[in-house]
Symmetry: C2
Subunit: 243 residues, 2 copies
């Protein structure tokens, strides 16, 4: 039976790929993904069949994977980061319900939360919440409710999709909500282009984050009440030192 | 200047290790970690110096890393999963504040949340909260507050350290709290020994999870109000199908 491997490539699609993801790319004859990620790996695997659809055509891309698998080919369905965090894994499982002849395996990858945290220092050493600010598939009211809950309960918060052309002020709106429950001096961080050329990061206060313009290649971290800046790193202490 | 690489080995310390983590292990002359993880990799790298301390001796282990680095050796400080999620990255950064001659790099790994999610299907396709039930370093009241916040705001919840010998009833207590805000039928999952021999998983209701005895090698997932069981997989839909 041929198989679809829903594979996370990690943030940069290179050194942060797992050994298992690399094997999947080597062994599958077809690699399918969003154009940008396909372009990152195409030159490494000149003998593969590469298929792609633009953004917003996620369901078409998944159906394409099943069509290829039904031709008897093993398929690597690739995503940036982890396929299971706002990625393609869920949709492949949903469509796969009606495709009993195709086996599915999810191959995890480094997601932006942990990849970005490593660039900033150690912001996720304590309980954390991952929230996407994209309201394309989620009503803003639900996003707002989750921001309030996470802020009140002093979670470290990691924001995915903090901005886009149509949603230029969403990060500022999120910061306004969080500032109702947390200090303006709360230590925050941003990382752009994690694991890629031109990777940059910045540590700043929640108040300054409010006024910062970020893009869709940026992941945002808001510390908890104990998060500190230490020698240019964002660090949430876990308390081992006191044990 | 010699360097400490705080390195996550992924859940199973083998195929789910990143290419970068593998390079770090190959290039460092000293590998330091908790005994169990050191034993998982020792035979692969016979020429290395392996150093270890038992559990609860985290600060000693970190200081050991700085001592070795100051002798001019590059050190891989290894953790299971990701070093930045309840791992050693924070403590190394804290101690590193007083060690200006040693460079620190955090090398991310697959954490149990994403590694376990891949085994179960796709539970983390929407906003999620990661909470540790260990009250060794966190007061239980704070953990409880976070459980309530995450349950009320309909986050998918991933529980680390769900149990230990001394805390046999903590998962049941957490389920009781969550059931005040979420249906008893909420789809949940457990994964044990992620990425290792004897990996097992189970999908069950929140009510059944309450009565299940898990151990410290288990990661627990509590779905949001839309999470489903589909062909034996735990899947949180993201809504692409409706676009």
């Amino acid at each position: 039976m041929s198989k679809i491997y829903v594979t996370g490539l990690g943030p940069g699609a290179a050194e942060q790929m797992t050994v298992q993801a690399k094997k999947v790319l080597e062994q599958c004859s077809v690699i399918i993904g969003y154009t940008v990620y396909i372009d990152l790996i195409r030159k490494e695997y000149p003998d593969k069949i590469f298929l792609s659809t633009p953004m917003r055509k996620e369901a078409d891309r998944c159906r394409m994977a099943f069509e290829e698998a039904k031709k008897g080919r093993d398929v690597a369905m690739v995503c940036s980061g982890d396929a299971g965090v706002y990625g393609m894994a869920g949709l492949i499982c949903e469509i796969g319900r009606d495709e009993p002849d195709v086996e599915i395996e999810i191959v995890p990858g480094i997601t932006a939360a942990t990849g970005g945290a490593a660039v900033l220092g150690a912001p996720l050493m304590h309980d954390f919440a991952v929230i996407s600010l994209s309201d394309l598939l989620t009503p803003w009211e639900k996003i707002e409710k989750r921001l309030i809950a996470a802020a009140k309960a002093d979670f470290v918060i990691c924001l995915y999709n903090p901005s886009s052309k149509k949603r230029a002020d969403y990060l500022a709106r999120a910061c306004d909500i969080i500032m109702e429950y947390r200090k303006r001096e709360t230590v925050c961080g941003t990382v752009r282009n994690i694991g890629r050329d031109g990777e940059t990061c910045e540590i700043l206060s929640l108040e300054s984050l409010h006024d910062k313009q970020v893009d869709m290649f940026t992941t945002v971290f808001i510390g908890n009440s104990n998060t500190m800046e230490l020698n240019g790193r964002m660090v949430t202490p876990r308390g081992y030192k006191d044990v």
